[in-house]
Amino acid sequence: MFTLGVDIGSTTAKAVILKDGKDIVSSSIVVATVGTDGVSRAMENALRESGVRREEIRFTVATGYGRKTFAGADLQLSELTCHAVGVHREFGDVRTVIDIGGQDAKVLSLNEEGRMANFVMNDKCAAGTGRFLDVMANILHLDISQLEVEAARAVHPANISSTCTVFAESEVISQLASGVRIPDLVAGICQSVAARVASLVKRVGVREQVCMSGGVARNAGVRNAMEKELGVRIVYSEHAQLMGALGAALYAYDKVQNDNL
């Protein structure tokens, strides 16, 4: 039986097709904003890659910021629950999930059964999110994927004191102008995201094991800074960015099983 999870985030659309609630038969990530055809493209990519026909999908769960805009879903769930479900399947012992996405950062506290018991999210601004990293990478003329490599080359990480994206932008520009090296700046930027998100983590309480999910989790610069900031080891999955879509597909499977759909 196939189930589909679609995660419509603020900057990317993700789709995961799951077989019998276990195997990811295909997945797709499309960089596109809500309201564009990104979702259907992500879904079509996943279908094409898996060879599964649309009619064969038994149940579809949509999640993410744009979940309500997707007409093809049987159910809409918040990305909070979906990340909790996804992470729990990947790492059964995880109690704290740090999910940094394009526009927001969330920290989930899971109970022993892997259910979300509590969560906090960043407030309205983009500080401590993928957006912050995008803006900074842009100033430094780097691709977002290069941040990790640059951060690793840092000798004296710069201190970026502003967490506000707009203020930090001018701070980075002036440090750049005064000759601070790019790797040191990148390390400082990662550190700034980590510090901002760590304060959210502390609000729900750090309970091990800690996992990072969402697109930013792939960035070792931020992950390492976060480990230092929290003083714990952080696990992450190669599917980090797909975790919401994966959780949605898993939830879809469970729903069919439990409700005899």
């Binding site: 769960v61 910021y65 979940r67 309500k68 049987d74 159910l75 809409q76 769930l77 918040s78 990305e79 909070l80 629950t81 927001d104 259910r115 979300m116 018991a117 509590n118 969560f119 906090v120 999210m121 407030d123 309205k124 609000r203 469970d254 729903k255 439990n258 409700d259």
Partner: protein
């Protein structure tokens, strides 16, 4: 324009509490307008200033906070806030103050007009921002300001020394007002007002406590509208009668298994903080569409004052929510959660009200732990619509619902 709309809607029952309360709230403004037109002096009054004083003296007062809420709820918040910001008032300042200062200057807001003041009555038991706000009004309009200082109380009880300090100021304010307006204080009349205010308060508190019933006989958002009368008119007989009608209706609803919350009440939450007036519909629909009833909020109960003499009145005004310490604030809310079978707490982190929002993170954490309920907060503002994001609100409310559902041992049906 209204005619067509009116035809479609059933005529409101003039005996219903909703109708009566709506009339009183509207009349508060028209009475003031008429008094002003008659050449009487009228005042602007802070919401937690002892209303018993102007009421006993027979003075007409109106409430800038209530007016700002009305303006914001009717879509004028941003316009008025921007007007004040253009005059140099910071965007960080309380939005009620920004709306009010803009109104003082423009003297007109189609959403809700009120007469210009001849004096202002200020009391800092809810916040100190109010002092500067009222001082500016008094200075700009060159009118007297009566100021009562009720300090933040770090203790659980109100001490005799504090009572004495407040009592002296209340009498000072009375004498000042007698001098300014030429009206005379009467102990007899005071007793009457105190009794009426007590009647209104008792009925109001009893009505709000009907949330103890399962399901609740009312939709908690009703309280946010009805409390306007408690703020502006609790010392008036019509208010006491309307509140008693409200209580009776809620009791009757319970008997009949009826409720003003239409739909199945699947979850019950407490709402913390001032309502997001510009986004009232969005915030209430976000809950309603998920079967969540906001059954209780400290904000509504804050306007029930029960006491039986002048000193009791002094103590009551020293125990309003923003004047009390973290422990007492927390315990009062824990009681509300427990009495009303609350399953989750939704906290409005209000950009305007620093005082209220400042200790909210720690307080709600303690409430969540004591009641074993999830706590979720969202960003907003009571009158400035710019500080709210609908999508973020929605995700948080859905997350809250999913936890409450999981706590009941069920699986979420999400939003189909």
């Amino acid at each position: 324009m209204g005619e067509e709309v009116k035809k479609k809607r059933p005529a409101p029952d003039p005996n219903s509490a909703k109708y009566k309360l709506g009339q009183i709230a509207a009349k508060a403004y028209s009475d003031c307008m008429e008094a002003k037109a008659r050449g009487e002096m009228v005042g602007w009054c802070a919401s937690n200033f002892p209303v018993e004083i102007p009421e006993t003296l027979g003075l007409s007062v109106c409430y800038p906070e209530n007016q700002a809420a009305a303006i914001a709820a009717r879509g004028g918040g941003e316009r008025m806030c921007s007007e004040s910001e253009g005059d140099g008032y910071s965007n960080d300042l309380c939005a009620y103050a920004r709306v009010s200062l803009a109104y003082m200057k423009l003297k007109d807001a189609p959403e809700q007009n009120m007469p210009m003041p001849d004096f202002v009555l200020c009391c800092n038991n809810i916040c100190n921002c109010m002092i500067k706000w009222y001082e500016n009004i008094a200075r700009e309009l060159d009118i007297p300001m009566i100021m009562i200082d009720i300090p933040f109380n770090p203790d659980y009880e109100v001490s005799d020394a504090e009572t004495e300090y407040i009592r002296a100021q209340f009498w000072g304010a009375i004498h000042q007002l007698e001098k300014i307006t030429g009206k005379k204080w009467s102990d007899e009349r005071y007793k009457e007002v105190m009794e009426i205010s007590g009647r209104s308060s008792r009925a109001w508190l009893a009505a709000t406590s009907c949330a103890k019933y399962l399901p609740s006989p009312f939709n908690g958002f009703d309280l946010l509208n009805h409390m306007a009368v408690m703020v502006t008119a609790r010392g008036k007989k019509e208010a006491a009668e309307a509140m008693e009608t409200l209580l009776k209706e809620y009791e009757d609803n319970h008997e009949k298994g009826d409720s003003t919350y239409h739909g199945e009440e699947k979850y019950r939450i407490m709402f913390e903080g001032i309502a997001c007036w510009p986004w009232l519909r969005v915030t209430s629909t976000g809950l309603k569409s998920r079967g969540i009833n906001m059954v209780t909020t400290i904000y509504a109960d804050a306007f029930g004052f029960i006491y039986d003499d002048f000193d009791g009145m002094c103590r009551a005004y020293a125990r309003v929510p923003n004047a009390m310490n973290l422990e007492l604030s927390r315990d009062k809310r824990i009681k509300l959660c427990k009495d009303n079978h609350v399953e989750g707490l939704l906290v409005h982190t209000n950009r305007s009200c620093k005082l209220w929002s400042g200790f909210m993170a720690e307080m709600s954490r303690q409430i969540g732990r004591a009641c074993d309920i999830p706590v979720v907060s969202f960003d907003g503002d009571q009158a400035d619509p710019r500080n709210f994001s609908e999508a973020q609100y929605d995700t948080r409310v859905q997350g809250l619902m999913e936890i409450m559902e999981a706590n009941k041992g069920g699986r979420s049906d999400g939003n189909r």
